[in-house]
């Protein structure tokens, strides 16, 4: 199975580990990602001002380009890319004014026919968790994993159509298929503070601390996510929290595709586990 793939800016720079582990783990499951021959920034955030069509142009161009290639699906893994591509696609389907303005500007005739998909959906619906379980060679039995969705994967529920918005479980189902133990905790869809790390650093630090402490209190040894910004906030800020609180217990924060890659025993160089601030290798590889 071959699916067009949009990596996005961060996966080509700060989140190479997410890019590499997504390509490698899906390839091991029989899904080949064919990177788009030309792509631009997706726009990162969906514009909430109803008169801001410029904020939708980039995503609309990417989607129209994929449709022009005769494809019917587009896969992306970064939560921000997934959110903005899926929401702009929804506008192209349901908002005649947005559709006309964007098509007039781009000189396209796109009506939202592409389906934007996430690797978690591919794992569940195309590959299947039973098949994944059968392909894992490394048993993660006993490893306690907390799944962190953040905000962009699940909200708003109508447009995203991704699992249950208040209590998504697809990542937990994947963790269970890998043989690890799922840790339930109350903060899995609360926001980490996102881009406010640039502007309200103290606020984000407090949010991160609440999320991590909540997962740790339930016994989590690792946290998994699909968002490079959540990963960064939850990972990098632990050093800052430790400076203020010597008793703070650090937890590795990795991409779900990295955990999948470990379970599939993919070559270490394809996983990027060395790129994190809190090193997950002692826990996962016994290194």
């Amino acid at each position: 199975m071959k699916i067009p793939y949009f990596p996005g800016c961060t996966l080509y720079n700060k989140a190479r580990g997410l890019d590499n582990s997504t390509r490698a783990s899906l390839a091991a499951l029989g899904v080949e990602l064919a990177e788009l021959s030309r792509w631009t920034c997706c726009g990162t955030v969906f514009p909430l001002a109803r008169d801001n069509y410029m904020g939708m142009v980039a995503a609309a161009r990417i989607l129209a380009g994929v449709a022009g290639e005769g494809e019917d699906r587009l896969l992306t893994v970064c939560s921000f890319c997934y959110n903005v591509l899926k929401r702009v696609n929804y506008e192209m389907q349901h908002n005649p004014e947005a559709r006309q303005k964007l098509n007039d500007y781009l000189e396209e005739n796109y009506t939202g026919e592409i389906q934007v998909v996430h690797p978690l959906e591919i794992c569940k619906e195309d590959v299947g968790f039973n098949a994944i379980q059968a392909k894992t060679s490394r048993n993660l039995k006993g490893l306690k994993v907390a799944c962190y969705y953040g905000c962009m994967l699940v909200r708003p529920a109508l447009e995203m159509g991704f699992d249950d918005p208040e209590n998504p479980t697809v990542m937990e189902e994947l963790v269970a298929a890998l043989g690890a133990e799922v840790v339930e905790y109350p903060h899995k869809t609360t926001c980490c503070g996102s881009y406010q790390v640039l502007h309200e650093n103290d606020l984000v630090r407090q949010r991160v601390r609440d999320i991590l402490n909540s997962a740790a209190a339930k016994g989590a040894e690792a946290i998994i996510t699909s968002c490079p910004l959540c990963q960064f906030n939850l990972d990098w800020l632990q050093g800052k929290i430790l400076e203020q609180d010597a008793g703070f217990r650090q937890i590795p924060v990795l991409y779900f595709t990295q955990l999948l890659g470990v379970a599939l025993e993919l070559p270490r160089e394809s996983l990027g586990l060395e790129q994190h601030y809190v090193d997950p290798r002692p826990l996962l590889l016994g290194a």
Partner: protein, 133 residues
């Protein structure tokens, strides 16, 4: 809450907020669900519920408060509002009215270099889109 005349928003601004957001703040019944879940509530001087109330009163403090810049557009308020108000769109309308007149809070030069060299690219693109003119 006493509203001073100097804090009154013009009819025109109120209409622009409604037009840009597509939302009606008068639907708000002040239940506080938005504020209970808000990501930024700990550093907001006005909670989302209070911003809604000021909008209902036509009080310009809604347009000039720190809360609108602390909102991380995580949409929890929008998802949970029992009156179906998309609060995130109202917050965005209040921001863009400021941004379109040159008012901004995220200035590139003020981002610490330690952070700038480490932060994922998406944080910069999203932060500048939401908080810079």
């Amino acid at each position: 809450m006493a509203v001073e005349l100097s804090n009154k928003m013009s009819r025109e601004i109120i209409e622009r907020i409604k037009e840009i957001s597509g939302q009606d703040p008068y639907l708000c019944m002040q239940c506080g669900t938005c504020s209970a879940g808000c990501t930024g509530r700990e550093v907001m001087e006005l909670l989302p519920r209070q911003v809604m109330r000021l909008l209902q009163l036509g009080d310009a403090r809604a347009l000039h408060c720190r809360s609108i810049w602390v909102c991380s557009t995580c949409l929890l308020c929008t998802a949970r509002c029992p009156r179906g108000i998309d609060l995130a769109r109202l917050m965005e309308a209040l921001r863009v009215i400021n941004l379109r007149s040159g008012g901004e809070v995220l200035v590139a030069e003020k981002i610490p270099v330690e952070l700038l060299t480490r932060v994922p690219q998406m944080a910069l693109t999203s932060g500048f889109r939401k908080l810079s003119a």
